[in-house]
Amino acid sequence: MSRNVSGQAYALTVLTPIVDGHAPELTAHLDALPEGDDSPLARVGRTHLARWVVIDHVKYQGHGQRHRDHLPPRLLFTSNLDGDLDSYLEALRTALGEDADAVWGHCVGYPGHRDAAGFARWLKAHEIEAALFFAAYGARTVDRVHADLAKRARLIEFALEAQGLEPAALKARFLERF
């Protein structure tokens, strides 16, 4: 099994080189993206948690590190997603559309979202496999997590309002509600 997989969850890690001089503009764009339900990533339904991070340098530690490394800026994209990678990348492409271009268009060699095969190929070419992936509820899809949370909330509400009901009424109300 792939080291990126835990249950049905997949850990996608993509590091793409940013075009020379574009890091500030990309950073400003990402920082200004709407958050919450208005985030472009909200449209990619199989995404549990995801992030974009501009890594504009690597840090020198001292403590015996003899050389300083210089990393041309990279864009890190990670996603904790449902199911298989190929269909997810296609969902990412179609759901993000122009928003994908506005982000990865600042990266070297990005083919654009209109090139379906190129889009997936380019992201996969910049993917790095996880060494260890932990998922607390890797068997649960995003939809299932939402459904379970809603059912729990419904039961709490039901338990409060059903207090004191006679058995027949309790059963009827439960069947109606669930």
Binding site: L33, H48, L49, V54, Q61, L71, A125, I128, L170, K171
Partner: protein, 180 residues
């Protein structure tokens, strides 16, 4: 900049390691993947949604730096300080196994130098998405148990007499009371 989305917090850390890490880290992570106690220990840290470690030998599409790097990302609920405290207290040996070959790693105990190390090597997310911002990891896992119990009772309900249903309903509530 957004390391917080709803009740989830993002942490992203990238650190260079010594040549000894090239030998040890593949073994450490192999053990992590194959010995269930490692993942069980992480499960004890019940506030982690998802976490990963990635060995970066080359930066795609193939750039090799003077050092190899260890990338760590986590999605958790609670405060940053509580998170690092818990790592330091609950899984210190595993922290040594993972970061012990990294330049500048001070060890997980005492916790303040460890926090300084993580802070110094952390990158703030420029955009962070969380599909269920109102829920903690514990609530999601509790909801899974509650939903299973409700579904089980729903499957049996129609065949139960009202009094037997009431008893089964009360048994169900008792069995999942910690999850409500």
């Amino acid at each position: 900049m957004a390391n917080v989305e709803g009740r989830a917090t993002a942490i992203t850390v990238l650190t260079p390691y010594k040549w000894t890490g090239r030998l040890l880290l593949p073994v450490v992570f192999w053990v992590g993947r194959h010995a269930t106690w490692t993942l069980k220990k992480l499960q004890m840290l019940s506030f982690i949604h998802y976490a990963r470690w990635v060995i970066v030998k080359r930066f795609p599409p193939g750039e090799r730096l003077k050092y190899e790097y260890l990338l760590f990302e986590s999605n958790f609920n609670g405060s940053w300080d509580q998170y690092i405290d818990a790592f330091s207290e609950v899984v210190p040996q595993r922290m040594i196994g993972i970061w012990g070959t990294s330049y500048g790693f001070p060890g997980p105990i005492p916790v303040e130098p460890f926090k300084d190390y993580i802070r110094a090597n952390e990158y703030v997310a420029n955009h962070y998405w969380n599909a269920y911002p109102g829920a903690t990891t514990t609530e999601i896992i509790s909801a899974e148990r509650v939903a299973a119990a409700v579904d089980d009772l729903r499957a049996r309900a129609e065949s139960l007499e009202p009094s037997a249903f009431k008893a089964a309903y009360e048994d169900m509530l008792t069995s999942i009371q910690r999850d409500l």
